[in-house]
Structures are given as C-alpha cells and as structure tokens.
Symmetry: C2
Subunit: 303 residues, 2 copies
C-alpha cells in the first residue's frame, strides 16, 4: 500500500470569531497527508519557498509522511489569508499570494511511480494530468477541484475528469460543473464526464456519495465548537483515501466506511487552528468517533 | 390512539421554476393532517372562510380526517402567495392575507379533549397554550413556531415551550431562538426552555434530533425533481407525529423511526404542487421509501 498526494503547502493567516492565527502551516497537501497518515504511508509532492520553516518539515516527517517529493524553490511559500464569520461554512479570502506555487511543476520521484492510490488535490487540471501520466497504472485515482478551474479551464478539467475514478468537490461546485441545480441530476452529469464516483462535500451538512451502488448520505459530526474550518475538505479526503489505501478494497462497503473515516478526520481538524486538531491523535480516538457516527445515524428497520 | 392538530388552512398561490399553481389547498394543518392520516386517526382544528371550496373538505374527509373541529367564519379564507427560485430551500413570500385566520380562536370540540397526542402547528403561541389547556392530560405534545413569533412574542413563546415535549423548527429559527450560532449549543439552550426533544428541520439537508438519547441525524430523501417545497415541514411533522400516535411509544427507537417516516412524507409532498404528492399513496410506497432511507444511510461497523 502507498498513497500519493499532489497539492499545495501554504502558510495561512486565518481569522475566525474565536481567534486568529498568523503564518501557520496549511495547504491541501498538508491537511490531506496528515489526515491520511493515521491510516497508511503517504508520499507527498508539493513545493515550498526558501522561507519555509524547517519545523513544519519535521512535523510532516514525524507523521511518517515521505517528503522526498517536496520541492524547495527560491522565493516565498504560497500564502493565503482568510476570514470566517459565525456562519463557518464559507471563507472570505482576503489575500492570496501564489509565490513559488505559481510556477509549480510537480516532479514525481522514481520511488513514487508505483503508488497504488493517487490523490490530485486542487491544482491546475493540466498539472493534475501531468502527475497522473507519471504514475504506473494506479489502482485508484481521485481528485478535487474548485470553481476557479470550473470557470476558467473547464475543457482541461473535463479531460482530467475522464481519467479519474473519484471526484470530491463542494456542493456549489458540483452544481456549477454540471450546470444543473438539482444535485441528483448534477451527479449523473458529472459521472458522465468520467468519475464513476462523485463525493459531494457539504460542510456542516456532511457529504453524499453517488455511484453505481446508489446514494450514500453521511452527516458531519455534530461539534459544539467549530474553531476553524480551514482544511476540512482536505482532511476529509485524507481520511477517505488513507483508509481505502489501507484496506486496498474499493467496493461499496469500503467506500462508505472511508467516507465516515473522512468525516471523522475533518471533525478533528476543525476543532483547532492549522493542523493542531489532528496533530497527535490516538487511533482509538478515531475509532471512537467512527462509532459515534454509527450511533448518530442508526435507526431500526420496520417490521 | 388519536392525534389532534391545530393550525392553518390556506389557499396558496405558488410559483416555482417548474410551474405555477393558483388558489390551491395549503396550510400547516392541511399538510400535517394529510401526512398523518396514513398512520392514524387525525382530528383537525382550523378555520376557513365562507369562500372555502367544499371539494377540499371532501378531500380531507376522504383521508378519514375528523373535520368536526373545522370552523367556518364569514369572510375569506387565509391566503398565501409565494415564489421559489432554483434554490428551493427558501420561499419568498409575495403576499399574505390572514383574513378569517386573523381572528381565529381555536375551539376544541368535547370529543377532541381526550386526544393522546397533540400537534400545535405554527400559530400565535398564546393560542397554542389556549388549545393545550383545553385537552385532558395529553401523553405527548409537540409544536412548531417561526421567526415571526420568536422576534415578536418571545416571552409568550417561551411560556408555551415550557409546556411542550417536542419542538420542531427550522435551523435558522433554532439559532435565533437560542441566540447561539452553534447548533449543538443552541439545542441545549432550547431544551432548557422546556422541550426535552428538539427536532431541527434543514430542508434538503434533512433533520437532526437532540434529546437525552443523544443526537440523531437523518438525511432528506435525494429527489431528482423537487417540484414545490411548500408544506414540507408540516408533512414531515405529520408523518412524525402520525407514526408516534400509531405506535403509542415515544422511546428513542420510535422517535428515530418517526423521523424517517416524517422525512418520507415530506419527500412525497415536494414532488408535486399542493397536496398532490401525498393525496393517494399506497402504504407500501411509504414503507418502500423508508427502506430506501435504510440503504442510503447504512455503513458497516469497524472490526
């Protein structure tokens, strides 16, 4: 088993109604690989600038994440600044500085080319395809994307989608990509573009999966204190893909369990700034929250 | 078993992206009692004007709903006019004419006073209490309310809540009532006002129940064609309370099953204008959709 992720590493400055954090570790690849590291061995491909604090690299290594694919470019690390109101569902972006991320060309180390499971986090769909073509026949490929690419590079995105098994996106993005307000119909349109499985992320409303096994709907874990939602979607993807790589089984039952593990990791992540909520979990805590999901959703059959 | 509902009967004019309907049968008590009529005997208390078409009364009777508590006043029936965009979650009210509903004083017929289960649909909280005090020790009392009363008659509403077992409201209203953006905390604040059980209705995101049994989260039925969401919440309440009155058991397992039956009835209702989606269902269809909910939410435990 081996899970490859390509995505961003960022230094985030975040303001929520509950506090602020400046220049803290963030980025899709970071959240993803930290969440996945509880389930499997993760190989990371990303770029940072020469200002990137070594302590963050040491943190990733401490989670047994393979950072031999971490490129260091001269210049500043990607920076994102955002703010959340009491409605924690949507971030208001205050500033984005792509910096070294702007000219990122993912270079897949030889040792990574045999990865079984691949996650293409939200980057240019052309780069997503370039990465994919450097891997020897992966067993499972999933990707994320965002409205920026749906609006600006739809044709390239559609080409990428033709080569992936699973697409994970936000609800509004699923509707936008399909050009269809009804989610069930939108899902069918997206599946026709390539991905056999579509997972729609709905923030505090959980997620819903569409595939040939039907529809699976999972709630989010009901938290009393959502502190910072940054990285929730990537933590979800990390738990989801990490579990699948661990069990090396992609049947309907495993996909559903993986969704719950994804929801569990997202729930830990939003309880604190940056990676703090997932930094040092005991696997027993993860299993405990999985079982909470069972309790929250259980109801008896009718006679 | 006997279920009493007090609420509104209206003639609605509705516009959705999929069509329009003028002066069609609507109102909280109508949706509630029609949904509940598939599970139990319903006694209805409401008021209509002398313009109310007799065919609607005949329809209610055809569902074996007891209409001896239906008051006829001189004047026009309550009218509501609303519009939905592609985001079907929220109606835009274009016109409200209370008409005879404005001076409605619910009068509970003697034969209704022994009702086991009582639902106080969204009316003035003072009237909700007046109704309650006319019933001999009901086993279970639930009520609905709306932002209009939360904002305008909070003190009266709080007095009513002290006397009810279950409150069913929309998510934004739960937050407003509690003055707390986090739903888990808001639920605790609402429970402290009286209702041991809070059920939060989330439209296409389903519902969540908070009580001493913990938290139960249920999705909405994923529909390809939501035609008209009017009455979804009242149909949900009707299925929920109708099932509980039928089984005469209000334990956690029954409450959870009742939530699913409520979700089933709401899903049928939104598939057509007015009451058309629930007019003539076969109970087997209701059971079939209940079992669909089992499939949609099922995932296996971990070893």
């Amino acid at each position: 088993m081996s899970l490859l992720v390509v995505g961003s590493i960022a230094l985030d400055s975040v303001k929520t109604p509950f506090g602020t954090a400046d220049d803290v570790l963030g980025g899709s690849a970071t959240y993803f690989s930290t969440a996945a590291s509880y389930f499997t061995d993760v190989k990371l491909v990303a770029v940072v600038g020469d200002d990137f604090p070594d302590k963050h690299v040491q943190f990733l290594k401490s989670r047994r994440i393979d950072v031999s694919g971490l490129q260091k470019s001269s210049g500043r690390t990607f920076r994102w600044k955002g703010e959340y109101g009491y409605d924690l569902n949507e971030a208001k972006t205050l500033d984005t500085q792509l910096n070294v991320f702007e000219s990122f060309r993912p270079n897949i180390p030889d040792a990574y080319r045999t990865s079984d499971v691949v996650f293409l986090a939200n980057i240019d769909p052309v780069l997503q395809r370039e990465v994919l073509h450097q891997i020897d026949r992966p067993k499972l490929v999933a990707c994320d994307t965002m409205n920026f690419w749906i609006g600006g590079k739809k044709d390239e995105l559609v080409k990428t989608l033709a080569e992936v098994d699973i697409l994970l996106i936000n609800e509004a993005e699923a509707r936008e990509l399909a050009g269809e307000p009804n989610l069930v119909k939108a899902a069918r349109a997206v599946q026709a573009m390539g991905p056999a499985t579509l997972i729609v992320k709905r923030g505090e409303y959980g997620s819903v999966m569409f595939n040939s096994g039907g529809i699976f709907s999972a709630p989010a874990y009901p938290l009393e204190a959502v502190f910072d939602p940054t990285g929730a979607g990537d933590s979800f993807a990390g738990g989801f893909m990490g579990y699948l790589d661990n069990v090396q089984n992609f049947d309907e039952a495993s996909l559903r369990q993986a969704i719950i593990f994804g929801s569990v990791m997202a729930s830990f992540n939003v309880e604190d700034f940056s990676l703090n909520g997932m930094k040092s979990l005991d696997y027993k805590e993860i299993e405990g929250r999985y079982r909470e999901f069972r309790k929250i959703t259980f109801f008896e059959d009718i006679a």
